[in-house]
Symmetry: C2
Subunit: 264 residues, 2 copies
């Protein structure tokens, strides 16, 4: 099954929940912290608890790399316990010159086994194409990010149009294998009408809901006639919904509640 | 010693050689390929051979990540055998929202022990500041990259000035700890007069010499009165100067030759 088909199958209602697996060590519940592999144990419990509501899981690699070899091993084990019908998004935001980007694509898809990853467009087309060569894998390209500094460059105007719209145009040109998506933050709903018009039928990965303040109801409204699958990510508001030993139950409720707000 | 002082000490002539440690598995010499840790064995021999000529070493993380846990372990071991007076640049090109960028900075500086790393500016100021909080470490921010697609976004004009100049202005504003540098590719010498004027006194990391075609003599001319330390990187032309078992001797000659072209 190619990436576009797998994505459509995982997001049958057009909008789906993506659970961000960003394990902060000092927020892990006591019963995980005692383990030899606390991140993996935590993630495995979160995945099991949220599997009915989630269309996708998104580990952010920063939270694994910081623990070196052990972190990387726990990332591999985490990915291995995600059910095969879910989309595995490796949130890596990689980007490098062509030959190096090919090595990153190999890391993401062959070594780690992700369905897709996030990539940064600053290096241009030859930095993106190695992630798009195989229709079985894809990439979500950063367009509008959810952080306050996102506007520093992304909203600079070139011939009257902000940089992120030029990024979106580049992505549409690179979409021959129907495996390019966009990252578009939920924290800037005022940008969305123009963004959606430019995006055509590219799938969206939408961070910024939950702890960062984006509103799922506003998203649902904005996306009601958008023609491509959209994944709404929530990390902290799901995985740290409780800091106690009931964290998995609390995550289950938080994921279900987000799903209901999006498609209920 | 803070980062700015260590960099000046490592580059006493203003221009220094950076050896890019980008080990492609099928280019490793036969005697390394037979090892359990071929990348580490290769890198250790390259570092020992080039230590008289090199001011800095720059492993590109893509070439380690693709081998998962084993690759990460060989990266750690590689970094551990770089002499302490050399600058360790982790070429990671990371960039993420503030809280995640802090985790990446922890990965690069605490876990891996790099002096500095490369970062991508697309997410703006709050994605860069976590890499700049500690004066003992620093970051080289991508301004002009050496690849053909670099121009796709970097040279788009905002109020008549290309995007990369806006990136440079952002970097100068963030340089309170004197630990911000720029990545500026040697493949576009025609951009350099404007770039150098904008860069003020930010250190430069210059890829694109060697296999990518940039000319060290042209660089030397351009940089003769530039006031900050500049590191000229060469990867393939040094580390793969010979594909035989004399690879370390050949690398030694190639690194010395580049040093002589820059400061001889």
């Amino acid at each position: 099954m190619n990436f576009a088909e797998k994505l459509r199958a995982a997001v049958p209602h057009g909008l789906g929940v993506c659970v961000g697996l960003d394990p902060l060590p000092d927020k892990l519940p006591a019963k995980c912290r005692a383990s030899a592999e606390p991140i993996y144990d935590f993630n495995a419990a979160i995945i099991e608890a949220t599997v009915d509501s989630a269309a996708a899981y998104k580990p952010n690699l920063a939270f694994y790399e910081r623990f070196g070899v052990s972190g990387w091993r726990q990332l591999e084990k985490t990915i291995a316990c995600i059910p095969k019908d879910k989309i595995v998004i490796l949130d890596a935001k990689r980007g490098d010159i062509g030959s190096t980007a090919a090595a990153y694509a190999s890391a993401m898809f062959e070594s780690l086994g992700g369905d897709c990853c996030t990539v940064n467009p600053y290096l241009g087309s030859d930095a993106l194409t190695p992630f798009l060569a195989d229709p079985e894998h894809g990439a979500f390209v950063l367009a509008v990010t959810s952080n306050p500094g996102g506007a520093d460059l992304q909203e600079l105007k070139i011939e009257g149009r902000p940089l992120y719209l030029h990024v979106i145009e580049l992505c549409r040109r690179l979409n021959q294998n129907h495996n390019v998506g966009l990252v578009a933050g939920a924290t800037r709903p005022e940008l969305w009408p123009m963004l959606l018009e430019a995006a055509g039928n590219l799938p969206l990965l939408i961070p910024g809901v939950g702890a960062q303040g984006g509103d799922p109801k506003v998203l649902r409204q904005l996306l009601q006639s958008y023609p491509a699958p959209c994944l709404v990510n929530s990390s902290r508001a799901i995985i740290f919904a409780s800091s106690g030993d009931d964290f998995a139950e609390a995550a289950k409720r938080a994921a279900r509640s987000l799903r209901d707000e999006l498609v209920g």
